[in-house]
Amino acid sequence: MPGLEDLYREIILDHYRTPRNRGELPVPPARHAEGHNPLCGDEITVYLDVDGDGDDAIVSDVKVSGQGCSISQSSASMMSAAVKGKSVGEVRGLVRRFKSMMSIDTDGAEQADADISLGDLEALQGVVKFPVRIKCATLAWNTLTEALASSDPD
């Protein structure tokens, strides 16, 4: 087994202990979606304030609530920090890029997004060596995608 230090990097534990953007946003105007990880019972809700239309709309605010393990919580925290202020198009690219890092097939989109920087999120790379934890790391991201797709609040 790869060492646990590959999984529990300091930056991950930091986001776990001090999660960014925790809380809720009023719905509407915010969009939101709820995600479950049936394996471990983790539940997460992602709230998004989106200004504008289409891919150019801006994710002006993001909040995350729910409970989960260090991996799902830190991934959610890093995700929230990474998407805040980005355009919807950029966010989608980031989601693809992150999923490709998690070795989840994204229909060859990988190449196109290879230049998108993941920043802190790179720390989650070690999760790939612990396949059962991949679902923990991607929970927030799948919920983000759903929140983006959730019908316009008004």
Partner: protein
């Protein structure tokens, strides 16, 4: 596609036969002549060993625990799903649902899809050659929801009589039919039947229980909507069956069996469901059986389904010819004579001897055939018999088995002196 480019000459059928340990067992000093594969098939050592090895070194829960052993077991389980998807060319492995047998798959379809989509007076079209597994679930639904069942008749030589099909399909909500009859051996024109169902606005549901084990199956070429089959008839273990369905359909269907694994959340006042396929796999699944089924699919793929079909066509032709040459009018074999449209299932009447007695006499020579109604009583009534003897062939059979059958039939004459 599995083995479509294997050439006939490349397969060592004797070696394949040798893969099946039970065929080396002797009873009263002579080997078993197993001609009951239409009922359930024997298993090659590759399948037996995969299960044995998994039980000794890899057994663990699926989808529930997070330690590595459980993760590896889950990967193997999902690998089996992917193998089954490959075998029938399903667009996605997530469209494969593991059930306990084809019967549960059919019940799932009738109860979940039928229960949600059919109303009093709605019609479902079946055929006169269906197995009880594709009759009783609809009759149960008919009792509950008052639906109407319509029956496609048969031609003299045991094929579907499609003359009035459009009329039967008119206004029908589903057409549920077998891809191959377990009594007559008849292979039905599945792609055509799916097209005509769709043209009439009906769902196309295929009982492929006898088809998948013996033929190249491509659910996309068929353009079917829901397809059911069983592991135990395709050299895989008992205790696991399959359902394939188009994702939009499965997605919209309510659950059939409720409990662990099929939920997203449960509260005192209700539950929400997990995505397909988990939605339809409540409780601890057939874990070891899935591993065994995965190995069975790999075994079949290693030979190639097209190659298996060729072998069986050849053997079926030989059997039809041998029995008719030897017994002429004393034997009456049901179903089509053309092996292009029939599989290796031979139901027959032998003189006036009751099939049960025929089977008894054959058993004295270790020839194993089934005698009975083959879970197709409506078809039996149509044939005017209450039972038939049935020899059914598979990839491990060869001409010596057919000869043994033909020889053993002589014994019946001695006793019943006809």
């Amino acid at each position: 596609m599995s083995g479509t480019n294997t050439t006939t000459s490349s397969t060592d059928w004797a070696a394949i036969r040798a893969d099946f340990p039970i065929l080396r067992r002797e009873i009263d000093g002579a080997p078993i002549v197993y001609l009951d594969s239409g009922n359930t098939s024997q298993k090659p050592r590759q399948v037996i060993e995969a299960m044995d090895d998994f039980l000794r070194t890899g057994y663990a829960p699926i989808n529930r625990s997070a330690y590595r052993l459980a993760g590896w077991a889950t990967d193997r389980y999902e690998g089996a799903r992917a193998a089954v998807a490959r075998l029938i060319n399903a667009p996605s492995a997530d469209e494969i649902v593991f059930t306990k047998n084809a019967t549960e798959s059919m019940n799932l379809i009738a109860s979940s899809w039928g229960g949600a989509n059919l109303r009093e007076g709605d019609a479902v079209v079946l055929t006169h050659m269906e197995h009880h597994a594709n009759i009783v679930p609809w009759q149960m639904l008919a009792e509950r929801q008052g639906i109407e069942l319509r029956w496609v008749p048969l031609t003299e030589d045991g094929q579907l009589d499609l003359a009035d099909l459009d009329q039967l399909l008119d206004g029908a909500k589903a057409f549920s039919f077998t891809a191959m009859s377990n009594v007559l051996g008849t292979i039905t024109p599945v792609a055509e039947l799916c097209r005509r169902a769709h043209d009439a606005g009906a769902l196309a549901i295929v009982d492929a229980c006898q088809y998948v084990p013996h033929n190249v199956t491509d659910v996309q070429v068929w353009d079917a909507d829901l397809v059911a089959f069983s592991s135990h008839k395709m050299v895989g273990p008992s205790g696991i069956g399959c359902l394939w369905g188009r994702m939009e359909l499965l997605d919209a269907m309510p659950p059939f069996i409720g409990g662990g694994n099929m939920i997203a959340d449960v509260r005192l006042d209700g539950f929400t469901t997990a995505p397909v396929p988990a939605k339809f796999e409540a409780g601890t699944p057939p874990i070891v059986e899935a591993i065994g089924l995965g190995a069975a699919v790999e075994y079949l793929e290693g030979i190639g389904m097209a190659e298996i079909r060729r072998h069986e066509m050849d053997l079926t032709r030989y059997a039809l010819d041998t029995l008719t040459e030897r017994y002429g009018d004393d034997i009456r074999i049901h179903g089509p004579d053309n092996v292009e449209v029939r599989g290796g299932v031979l139901s027959f009447e032998f003189r006036d001897i009751h099939p049960h007695d025929v089977s008894q006499v054959l058993d004295e020579r270790n020839v194993c055939v089934r005698a009975g109604h083959h879970c197709a009583k409506p078809l039996m009534r149509l044939l005017g018999v209450n039972a038939t003897a049935r020899a059914s062939l598979y990839l491990y059979n060869d001409r010596s088995d057919v000869d043994a059958l033909a020889d053993a039939l002589d014994g019946a004459t001695d006793i019943f002196g006809l």
